[in-house]
């Protein structure tokens, strides 16, 4: 069996918060990511879904080294990334790229499109100026932008077009893996569909793998073969796309799927909805035992107080895994 492209094992990211002791040690830790493990195979995509504050973005940023990991391991084709120096990261920066949520904030307003796209090419030492110019034009063509607009500034483009520039920049170094952090959530529906289609098309064309972070399950379903669901810093379920949507195994996944509104009045009228009580707890003071147990609608089906005492481990069974005490 070949090695997965990316192996994430027991990845943990805690942020020190609040007042510190005299020795400068933090007294409290925000457990943003708490022991997350998954693999991504070459050319296949994993969707990471969950509600705001569940740690999905922190997880992505820790994987690409924007946050140092508290513990755990991230391996890219067998190489450990969490211990790399800045310089050591450089060859992997080329192979692992990122697309951000906000196409307004993630482009430098003072650079032209040509400068934005030239920067990674220069940094990775890809070609002479003339070759780089041709490459920039072909990148623009690949993401569906008019190559004649190469001297324009970001503010001259619409939101969807700006996101295309961000995608072109990510493609510049010919990556194997692109981490997409909510790449379409800031866009309008009609534009969102254009970008989702573009991401699908580029994946085929360049044999890309995506780690796709989103809160919109329908978008993730469209692009990812596997889906992992996070709740309060932990994975609660991971499964192939069709199985997760047809047959969710974790109570939180069930509730999440049932809460997604359908753009179809007939379905909306007849479907049964699990409305969860309460709010997502704070990751500063996570509940004891299973992080989901205070809101879980199936907590009564587990005998005793196991749910509130024991953290359920992520158990693998065939193609899928789940962290729940239910039988």
């Amino acid at each position: 069996m070949t090695r997965p492209l990316l192996e994430v094992q027991e990845l943990t990211k805690h942020f020190p918060v609040g007042p510190r002791t005299l020795m400068g040690k933090a007294q409290q830790h925000l457990r943003a990511v708490d022991g997350v493990s998954f693999n991504i195979e070459r050319g296949l995509s994993l969707g990471l879904v969950g509600e705001s504050g569940c740690g999905k973005s922190t997880c992505a940023r820790t994987i690409v080294g924007l946050h140092p990991a508290t513990s755990g391991s991230v391996r890219y084709e067998g190489t450990e990334l969490t211990t790399l120096s800045r310089r050591g990261w450089l060859p992997y920066r080329r192979k692992i790229q990122m697309i951000f949520q906000d196409p307004y904030a993630s482009l430098d307003p003072r650079q032209t499109v040509a400068q934005i796209l030239d920067e990674p090419l220069k940094l990775f030492g890809l070609g002479r100026p003339r070759e780089r110019r041709l490459r920039i034009l072909s990148l623009l063509e690949a993401v569906g932008l008019n190559p004649r607009h190469v001297q324009r500034y970001p503010h001259e483009f619409s939101g969807g077009q700006r996101q295309r520039i961000g995608i072109a920049r990510a493609l510049a170094g010919e990556p194997d893996l692109i981490v997409c952090d909510e790449p379409v959530s800031a866009l309008d529906v009609s534009i969102q569909a254009q970008i989702v289609n573009l991401l699908g098309e580029l994946r085929e064309r360049f044999d890309l793998a995506y780690l796709f972070i989103a809160h919109d399950l329908a978008v993730v379903r469209h692009l990812c073969e596997r889906i992992a669901v996070m709740y309060l810093g932990r994975l609660v379920e991971e499964a192939p796309r069709e199985e997760l949507f047809k047959n969710p195994a974790h109570p939180y996944t069930k509730a999440l799927l049932s809460a997604v509104p359908y753009p179809d009045p007939e379905v909306e009228r007849t479907r049964e909805r699990i409305v969860l009580g309460g709010d997502v707890p704070s990751p500063l003071t996570p509940p004891s035992g299973c992080p989901f147990h205070p809101r879980c609608h199936q907590v009564g089906e587990v005998s005793g107080d196991r749910c509130s005492r024991e953290v359920p481990a992520l158990v693998h069974e065939g193609q899928r895994s789940r962290a729940c005490h239910l039988d």
């Binding site: 399950l217 509104p261 009045p265 007939e266």
Partner: protein
């Protein structure tokens, strides 16, 4: 008689880039206890419509025209002090972001009682008692304790419940909800939508629900009006409009939404191009540059919203496939 009648409502803003027609002549009616979904993409004019109904358009730069009849009164002709008697009283509004629309310096109790003291002349203690009851009704635990808290002490979902409770204190006949669940997570959104439906059943409040989320509309609205570039392009009963959308924009919008049960082996269908610049509108139909069935004549005159021959439905595309209409045009 309809509870609310809006006729030729238009709002334009004079800017450095020219005149922006944010709302460009829209008309609709609403009955008692009905929910109207106002959908469209950003910049389509749906939020400005809501603000205009309450006379909340800043002027200058905004200029408003048209008529708004509510409950036998022409509120578009009211003076500012008279409008203040309507706002928060007979017509209430819930905004998208409960963090920025609650005053961070005042306790929840102070903000809630203000409405009752002002509109209903209640004493402070009476107003506090009614506010606590209101908070309990929207499902907040320990309402008395909440009254003494500040907005930052509550979660997003709780703040939105406070907004709803505050909006309902004076038992309004009409509730304007501007993207009330957009800032919330889906599981919290489900709670809030259910709460609004329950409130409506109980008090018979009419609701205008402004949203870009077609899923939310599908589950809550009786009727839907689809807006594009400042105009209503199609209107009709929710189930019919979703089942057989007539206007090409509605068709494109509905088919570009990814669904949990759609086929993932194909691309999503998308609408090419981007919405027009409101300060530099194309001539003729605003959607024509993106429309798959556009004809040369579409760029000549801007079509109006006309009844489509099917009860309760209307659309603004003369080419739209509607059997009665094609028969009527030889």
């Amino acid at each position: 008689m309809a509870l609310l009648t809006v006729k030729d409502l238009a709002v334009r803003f004079e800017t450095h880039h020219g005149t922006v027609r944010a709302v460009d002549g829209i008309s609709f009616d609403m009955e008692e206890g009905e929910t109207l979904g106002l959908v469209g993409e950003s910049g389509s004019g749906k939020s400005v419509t809501n603000l205009a109904l309450l006379g909340l358009i800043p002027s200058p730069p905004g200029v408003m025209s048209g008529q708004v009849h509510f409950d036998g009164q022409e509120i578009s002709a009211l003076s500012e002090p008279e409008l203040r008697k309507v706002r928060g009283n007979r017509i209430a509004m819930i905004f998208q972001d409960p963090m920025t629309s609650l005053n961070p310096l005042l306790t929840i109790g102070r903000q809630m009682t203000e409405v009752l003291e002002l509109h209903k002349g209640r004493s402070r203690s009476e107003a506090l008692r009614l506010s606590a009851t209101g908070l309990g009704e929207v499902g907040l635990s320990e309402p008395e304790k909440r009254l003494a808290q500040y907005p930052h002490e509550l979660s997003g979902g709780m703040r939105q419940r406070v907004m709803i409770a505050m909006g309902l204190l004076c038992e309004p006949r009409l509730l304007l909800a501007d993207e009330p669940t957009t800032a919330l997570d889906v599981t919290i959104q489900a709670q809030i939508l259910e709460l609004m439906a329950e409130v409506q059943r109980k008090h018979g409040t009419a609701i205008i629900l402004v949203t870009h989320d077609l899923g939310v509309v599908a589950g809550t609205a009786d009727r839907v009006a689809v807006m594009y570039a400042g105009r209503i392009v199609e209107e009709g009963p929710t189930s019919q409009l979703f089942q057989t959308p007539h206007h090409p924009y509605t068709q494109g919008l509905l088919s570009s939404v990814p669904r949990l049960d759609s086929d993932t082996s194909h691309d999503l269908s998308s609408i090419p191009g981007t919405p027009p610049d409101l300060a530099d509108m194309p001539s003729g139909c605003a959607f024509a540059p993106r429309c798959p069935i556009a004809q040369p004549e579409c760029t000549k005159t801007r079509p109006g919203l006309l009844p489509s021959g099917i009860a309760g439905r209307s659309n603004a595309c003369p080419l739209a496939a509607s059997p009665s209409q094609t028969e009527a045009r030889p």
